[in-house]
Amino acid sequence: MATHTAEPAADGAAAVEHLTTEDRIWLLRAMLLMRGLEERAMTLYRQGKVPGSFYDGYGQEAVSAGAAFAMGPEDRLCILHRDLAAHLIRGVTPTRILAQYMGRATGITGGRDGNVHFGDRHLGCVGMVSMLPDMMLVATGMAMAFKLRGERRCALTWFGDGSTSRGDFHEAMNWAGVQKLPVVFVLENNQYAYSTPLEKQFAVDPVERAAAYGFVGVTVDGNDAEAMFEATRAARERALAGDGPTLIEAVTMRMHGHAAHDDMKYVPKEQVEQWRKRDPIERQEARLRSLGVDVDAVRAEVKATIDAAAEEALAAPMPDPATAVDGVFCEGEAEPLGDGNAPWSGFTRSEAVA
């Protein structure tokens, strides 16, 4: 894959020195959970139990799993709609995610917002809005506060190829570059913004724009969780060292339609077939099998988790209509975001990093 800047592209091989076997299993587990939960949610959608539409990240699991795995507990994340693995890594339970999809009272937003529009504030995450990529500026502002306060933390956000056409992309890239902020921008290039292909979106590969704003841009195989981890780990190191932002372009493919209602007939079949051969979960499984890991046991464990979560979520109550107008304003003290889980052994081994 071409690299557009002086920075070498991260690859899975370079990641190995930072990842234990247990870490590599974690990455697989997060991706399997994401895919399994989204498949279950799609079934629930077809059964009429998920209102609205449903958006999934089939085929893109490595992007959020790998990037989120590199983030520390005190780092802060603004997560996009095809990045479920990031929520799972930060510690959101599968039960609450399925409850969220079904608009239940026990979902992360308690039914206030739908499907993937959520972020658990207690775990250091802010949920996205539909105007993309608004969260790039929010993440930039978090990083600005970290820098002003002299804290060794960073912010990370994901956004898609379509987002690169909007003004907030440019405002965030410029602001982060001018102030040299500890922020990681993950551009999830999944080839289509709804039905619009890349050639109608930009005239130059957006990773090249990083240089124009004065920071590093790297292109990564977005279907390789370990490569995503390594690129993000390196970007975070740069951020914490005071070397400013990084734009990571994760090249991947949206294997399903924009949402459940989209049959994706505008995508050539051959394109889908080609990308199917590069499935991120199969790739991680092959790696782990070669290390002698019992991958089937991981799969079985994930399936059991999802079955139990679905049962629990289906039993959860719907929200009370009497609460529909509550909570528009904060009545008490403003409580900032809390810390999230950070299962990477690089954090759990060293207290100093947290």
């Binding site: 802010v126 105007m131 608004d134 969260m135 929010v138 930039t140 502002g141 410029n174 904060c330 003290e333």
Partner: protein
Amino acid sequence: MPTLTYLQAISAALRDELRADERVLLMGEDIGVFGGAFKVTDGFIDEFGPDRVMDTPLAESGIIGTAIGAAVVGMRPVCEMQFSDFISCGFDQLVNVAGKMHYRQGLAVPITVRLPSGGGFSGGPFHSQNPEAWFMHAPGIKVVAPSTAADAKGLLHSAIRDPNPVCFMEHKHLYRRVKGEVPSGVFETPFTARVARPGSDLVVMAYGAMVTVALEATEDVDGASVEVLDLRSLVPLDEEAILDSVARCSKVVIVDEANSTCAAGAQVAALIAEKGFEDLDGPVVRVATPDVPIPFSPPLEQAVLPGVERVRGACRELLAY
């Protein structure tokens, strides 16, 4: 008690908050080295440094969006729009990200957005607007609009200490024209209405610069006892004070400097129609800027902005009803 201009009162509130709370941070275009287009933050950079009196890139969406990010990790950003008109470029961040955050995620966004607003000085269509109603219509955002120096200070303290996004509508035409005694130190003015002058025959309800117009217009309307109610806060709207005034006076004139359709005054009129109808002794009368962009040339601008004569005429007509 020192006498300050409306502008000095705003400066004093900002200075007090920067001194009192290290989480407070000012962000805006040209507010640091230059001291702001209206000199509200003149000299601040010397006392507080360039990090806390931040000259930002020329990017209003960027200002609001990064302020939101800083707020959710514990800061108290105060954003200056150089002119309130420019908030249109930051509208999405304010309305969709900040305004809906607490309802959706239980996450508070304590940001204050200072919006130098209003016309009367040939600012033309892009430097004279009163955009408060845009934000009254967007859930999750508070909107306040002081008319006096004391309220400019007290409401700004309250806005900065509020855990929610607050639009602080500061009227440019009042900056150096309005003066008054302002208590020293921090004091928080509640987001409620204020009786600017009590009366019993008719009440004029207004906010911001129109309070001054209302007071002057009704100093003597053929000897009638005219109340002036300064709304001060548009979100929340002080229903109790509004309905009390209606009950006392029975005749109501509502003045907006904003364009008439769906203005703040339209909401006040609707409230009175719904909940104060039995106390009325005449139609609710509205005086507002017609639905046109604010023109540049003085005779054109004066033709559209509500002035003393129009307000007095409306009162006289309603008193005779």
